[in-house]
């Protein structure tokens, strides 16, 4: 009896499937001709929209207002949400500032959530494309940026990511540029810094081998350490699924008498490592990378654990130069907390695009391909940019920015420059 029932169920399901696929096929062919009239109405709508600014211009005889559609993609929810939200907020501050200038270039800005998932990121990108995006600021994180980069390259849409730092993001894509320094660059800088300043003699590395960002930095760090003679006494890994218990990794580092633990990982597992190291009374110097930025904002985190932790970041929100101070004030006014480096990178991205548009003389009526080519020519043609995350930045032909990470130490909940 049961078997026949199950069989009947399977048959019924199979039939339903067959019906559905049949429907899908015919549905497509039916909707294809329907698309054209829809496109027509869209066009009329566009002309209507275009007429509106014209009317406004008549009211106030200012210069021509050019509105660019800037899209952003990043994780607003999910485990990496803090990065996407920071990026979005930082970019929003820059867009508001630019629009408030009242100049001829105005930005219309829209951000889509990708939950730090490459597939969802491509969906978000497509949604923005339908919205009319001309330039993309994002995606925030590496894996999505690799996926979206390929799409944007095929579509010829210019892409400037604030923080996707793997070289895979820009490799082979002439339209992809980075605002952050690359992963290998971080590993090299860290190894050299530790050696030159004698921060530690024996180094242990704990990294996430399921993550391109983490493995990229760990690899270049190890290579550089071998070159310059920095002793690595222990290398251990974890994955996203085992990012709970670090007792083994820490025990190994402790037994190898490591006096410095290099953590090329994000701050969430790092916070666990700090807590567990304290539990086992192991107190080496912890040296993080830019993913460590944000650890002080972790809700419920005992910030005293982070005292003495060193990390590399392009941006110090306690910095005193004018650009930083202005941005920090505007950001605090808008969102009530200090910006982190992702917000600063997002902010710089929008301003860099603004300046590049001015320099290249781009107008919004150009096609995406024309805008993309003009921006590529500008970015690789000696364009320099001063922002909150560095001065005199230039970009190489493969999309990498020239800027060096700075090393800061966390002291009583603020970053102190070394």
């Amino acid at each position: 009896m049961k078997l026949t029932k199950a069989l009947a169920l399977i048959m019924a399901l199979a039939m339903m499937f067959a019906l559905l696929t049949g429907c899908g096929g015919s549905g497509n062919s039916a909707s294809a001709p329907a698309e054209e009239p829809a496109a027509d109405t869209a066009e009329t709508a566009e002309t209507a929209e275009a007429a509106e600014p014209a009317a406004e211009e008549a009211a106030e005889p200012a210069e021509d207002v050019m509105v660019f559609h800037i899209g952003g993609v990043g994780p607003l929810t999910g485990a990496a949400a803090i990065y996407g939200n920071a990026h979005n907020n930082g970019s929003q501050v820059a867009v508001d500032e630019i629009n408030a200038l009242g100049g001829s270039i105005q930005f219309e800005y829209k951000f889509e959530d990708d939950e730090h998932d490459p597939e969802k990121s491509v969906n978000a990108y497509n949604a923005l494309k339908d919205w009319g995006m001309q330039i993309l600021v994002g995606p925030t994180t590496t894996q999505p940026a690799i996926a979206v980069g390929a799409e944007a390259n095929a579509d010829r849409i210019f892409l400037l990511t604030p923080s996707a730092s793997s070289t895979d993001v820009t490799d082979g894509k002439d339209n992809a540029f980075q605002m952050c320094f690359t992963d290998p660059n971080q590993g090299i800088t860290a190894a050299n810094y530790i050696k030159d300043n004698a921060v530690g003699e024996k180094v242990a590395i704990i990294y996430n081998n399921a993550d391109a960002y983490s493995t990229g930095i760990a690899q270049s760090f190890t290579d550089t350490a071998a070159e310059i003679g920095l002793e690595i006494v222990s290398t251990t890994t974890f994955t996203d699924d085992s990012a709970n218990d670090f007792s083994v990794q820490l025990t190994e580092a402790k037994n190898a008498e490591a006096d410095l633990v290099f953590l090329p990982i994000y701050y969430t597992p790092a916070s666990l490592i700090l807590a567990q190291a304290k539990d086992m009374e192991y107190a080496p110097i912890f040296f993080g990378v830019d993913g460590m930025d944000g650890i002080l904002d972790l809700e419920g985190f005992d910030t005293s654990l982070a005292n003495g932790v060193m990390l590399m970041t392009p941006f110090n929100p306690w910095g005193t130069d004018e650009a930083t101070a202005n941005f920090v004030d505007a950001f605090v006014d808008a969102y009530g907390s200090k910006p982190n480096q992702f917000a600063a990178d997002g902010y710089d991205c929008v301003w860099a695009i603004y300046e590049a548009i001015q320099e290249a003389g781009i107008t919004p009526d150009m096609s995406n391909e024309e805008i993309c080519d003009a921006l590529i020519a500008t970015f690789t043609g000696g364009f320099t940019f001063n922002g909150t995350t560095g001065n005199d930045m230039t970009w190489s032909a493969n999309g990498e920015v020239s800027k060096a990470p700075i090393v800061v130490t966390i002291q009583d909940d603020i970053y102190v420059n070394n």
Binding site: N244, V248, T251, E252, T268, M280, L298, E299, D302
Partner: protein
Amino acid sequence: MAFLSNLISGISLGSVYAIIALGYTMVYGIAKMLNFAHGDVIMVGAYMCFCAMNYWGLPPLAGILLAIIICTLLGIVIEKLAYKPLRAATSLAVLITAIGVSYFLQNAALLIFKADPKVFPSVVTLPNLRLFDGSLIISATSIITVIVSAIIMVALTLFVSRSKTGKAMRAVSEDKEAAQLMGINVNGTISVTFAIGSGLAAIAGVLLCSAYPTLMPTTGSMPGIKAFTAAVFGGIGSIPGAMLGGILLGVIEILGKAYISTELSDAIVFAVLIIVLLIKPTGLLGRKINEKV
């Protein structure tokens, strides 16, 4: 010394798995269903305790009690709403429903508490235990975890073997229809089982987050799967089996990480499971006859 310290970490992690596995094994033994939402009840318990301590300023003990009460109620509600109407349905339907409940809880937590991880304040504030002039340090959380799970196991075994409700549980587990004919309230008994399992989940959540203080909506899912493995490992349906399976799993995981490879630790755990099941298909302490509780 390193070996001892790893062994202790393993036993402590295993004890948490064991408490979670007890919930799986009891529900399976009595209702003959895999409650995959169990891992997420852990997460709810941890969030409740977190809220009680961080937002409402309650002492840790009150937080734990509140978490247990809420999770017990949650377990009963889940059973009444999602599983009871399916009592006569195929086990596949119930399994899919359980997965649905699991996603529902995770996403509800995502909506309420947002995605940013929270750092759980440890409920254990005792100093660490130092042995051999400080060359072996055992964290107080580990000790408490092991003690609590031992107490729970003894209490649960006594409850099931001595109390009237426990007797009813064993009867329902052996033969639902016959138990009903003998005047046992089957639905009530299953509710009690869910209540106990979920209450244990709350304790497991608090202990888990005290040892590994990152709290996210997905916090319960991986330990949940590992604990389910532990329950199968020890023989699903058997209370001492869940305990043994949990502790062995924790120890294998940590020792595998320490002495074989940090990258392969999960693969090692599951390879051991496969080997055990090949040799003893009912698990370490599982029995073939239907006497499981």
